[in-house]
């Protein structure tokens, strides 16, 4: 079988900002036609990575290829074929939804004769046909976010870069956006999505790359990652803090991997130790277990 074409290929990418190393030897592959989730805590280097893909940040070392074009040398060619949905809403608020899309259809070089259809198509994808002539500052938060995604799709890109697509949104709006992104994925759009929401990566991504301290520490399908790093079952033991310290020490002494979940101690791989473990609530191991295990319990 032929190896799949890579939409994004990063090898040994480094980026420093003064004393701080934001990206530290990053390797990343995004095969065409897949949705890859870049999962990591704040400060893991996700945003810097996204910026380097569009040459808004320059790598200090390493190779970056986007859709076969070298970045930053041929970034302009690559950008013409990419759609970018930024983390922060930067729509023109005094313009209507349609006007926002029309400007970007031009910027993305959609030929004049096709622009109207391109804008209509993007409005349809984002389910904003009825609000096409509404000014952006009169749209709801969810509609604005959908419009932001539509703006990234107006030229029918081969690759979509989504930077924290649902950060800071209501659960209802998040569901709505997930449905939209899932529909794009099903159509075959290649997507790289950075997120620090585990559920988002679990639901939308074909494969997940977990980032910590500027590099990928694990990659694979969400279910495989869970099995490989966290086992099948997790046992959560509740109790007063002193008891939790005890439970943790005992479990670690018995060779279990353990993590704190705020109010409980979670013992990973609990399926192996029937009988010898304390009383607690058993649940299926989750991607969150893997995430915390690999990226650390402490938040920087």
């Amino acid at each position: 079988m032929e190896a799949p074409q890579l939409a994004i290929r990063l090898r040994g990418v480094h980026k420093r900002f003064g004393e701080i190393t934001a990206v530290d030897g990053l390797d990343l592959d995004v095969p065409e036609g897949t949705c890859v989730g870049l999962l990591g805590p704040n400060g893991a280097g996700k945003s810097t990575t996204m910026k380097m893909l569009t040459a808004l940040a320059m790598a200090d070392a390493g190779e970056i290829e986007v859709l076969g074009f070298k970045v930053p040398e041929d970034s302009k060619q690559a950008r013409a074929l990419c759609g970018v949905v930024p983390q922060l809403d930067n729509l023109d608020v005094e313009l209507t939804a349609r006007q926002n899309l029309a400007v970007f259809a031009r910027l993305y070089r959609v030929p004049a004769a096709e622009r109207r259809a391109a804008v209509d198509g993007a409005l349809e994808i984002a389910n904003l046909v009825e609000r096409a002539d509404t000014r952006v500052d009169k749209l709801s938060g969810g509609m604005r976010r959908r419009l932001l995604i539509a703006r990234g799709l107006v030229h029918r890109p081969r690759l979509l870069l989504l930077d924290e697509p649902t950060v800071g949104l209501d659960p209802q709006v998040r569901q709505e956006l997930w449905a939209l992104i899932d529909a794009l994925r099903t159509e075959g759009t290649t997507i790289l999505m950075s997120t620090h929401y585990i559920e988002e990566a679990e639901r939308l991504a074909d494969t997940v790359s977990i980032m910590a301290n500027g590099r990928v520490v694990a990659r694979g399908r969400p279910a495989e990652l869970v099995r490989e790093h966290a086992g099948v079952e997790t046992l959560e033991v509740y109790g007063p803090p002193a008891r939790l310290v005890e439970v943790r020490e005992e479990a670690e002494a018995a060779g279990y991997r353990v993590r704190q979940t705020g109010t409980a101690v979670a013992i990973l791989g609990a399926e192996a130790g029937n009988g010898r473990l304390p009383e607690g609530v058993r649940r299926a191991a989750s991607l969150e277990d893997v995430f915390v295990l690999l990226t650390g319990e402490e938040v920087e």
Partner: protein, 266 residues
């Protein structure tokens, strides 16, 4: 989702592509349509108020300057003021807000547009806008008794070239400052003196010689001279004036690109 659009762009993209520049300008124009009434209102009312005040006030004390009525002298000079403020402030505040508050430039640079094209488009748009609106004082002065002349048709072009330079300066300033409040320093220490010693309100040759020599480094002075000469008759020295303005515009354009790129690309 590959379609013909993506296919067509397999051609090699170059520097300073007209499509990128007009694309960025189309954003400016679309936004301008939402606030042009306010701009037009102040562009017409401001010189009217100035000319009424100067005509009724100073005009009674100063009868004529350089052989023209004082109100006409100030009115033609105010073309330069209008151009300076429209382009320099438009660029300073506009670019700062779009870059740091609205994050518009992140979106534009994610498209196949470079900083060089972005700056060129912003400067070109502000230049064209200032070239047109710079004529407002001239039209108002005609109500106060200025006779029309063919040379006036050159004024929008002189205005646009001057405005390219000051817009470039404004982009540079917006990229250089760390806080929007720092524009106060630029306004008070640089722009206000430039406009007061440009020959708008009084002729430069009344000043000490050192100030006269210094005013040659003031682009606005060259603009004011050119505008008056365009209205009343061009002279050979105008080749010098236009050359200074062209050098100024080119220099500021490159400086703005260099500084904004440093600011935008990490």
């Amino acid at each position: 989702m590959t379609t013909t659009t993506a296919g067509r762009l397999r051609r090699r993209l170059h520097r300073l592509e007209p499509a990128a520049i007009t694309g960025v300008m189309s954003r400016d124009v679309t936004n301008f349509m939402t606030y042009w009434k306010a701009t037009t209102f102040s562009s017409v009312l401001d010189p009217t108020i100035y000319l009424v005040a100067f005509g009724l006030g100073l005009g009674t004390i100063v009868a004529a300057v350089e052989g023209m009525e004082y109100v006409v002298f100030v009115g033609t000079g105010m073309v330069g003021t209008a151009i300076l403020f429209s382009s320099a402030f438009g660029a300073m505040y506009g670019v700062f807000i779009k870059h740091r508050f609205q994050r518009t430039y992140d979106a534009i640079l994610a498209a196949p547009v470079d900083t060089e094209e972005l700056v060129t488009a912003e400067v070109a748009w502000l230049g064209l806008r200032a070239g047109v609106y710079g004529c407002a004082p001239l039209l108002v002065t005609m109500i106060f008794g200025l006779d029309p002349s063919w040379g006036m048709l050159l004024v929008p072009f002189i205005g646009a070239i001057t405005a390219f330079g000051f817009a470039g300066f404004g982009v540079f300033a917006a990229a250089a400052v760390s806080k929007i409040d720092h524009f106060n320093y630029i306004q008070s220490a640089l722009l206000t003196p430039l406009f007061l010693v440009s020959g708008t309100f009084f002729p430069i040759d009344e000043l000490p010689q050192a100030a006269q020599i210094a005013s040659n480094f003031n682009p606005l002075y060259h603009c004011v001279e050119l505008v008056r000469h365009a209205v009343f008759g061009l002279e050979s020295i105008d080749l010098f004036h236009i050359s200074v303005l062209l050098v100024f515009a080119f220099g500021m354009w490159r400086l703005a690109i260099w500084r904004l790129e440093k600011r935008l690309i990490e």
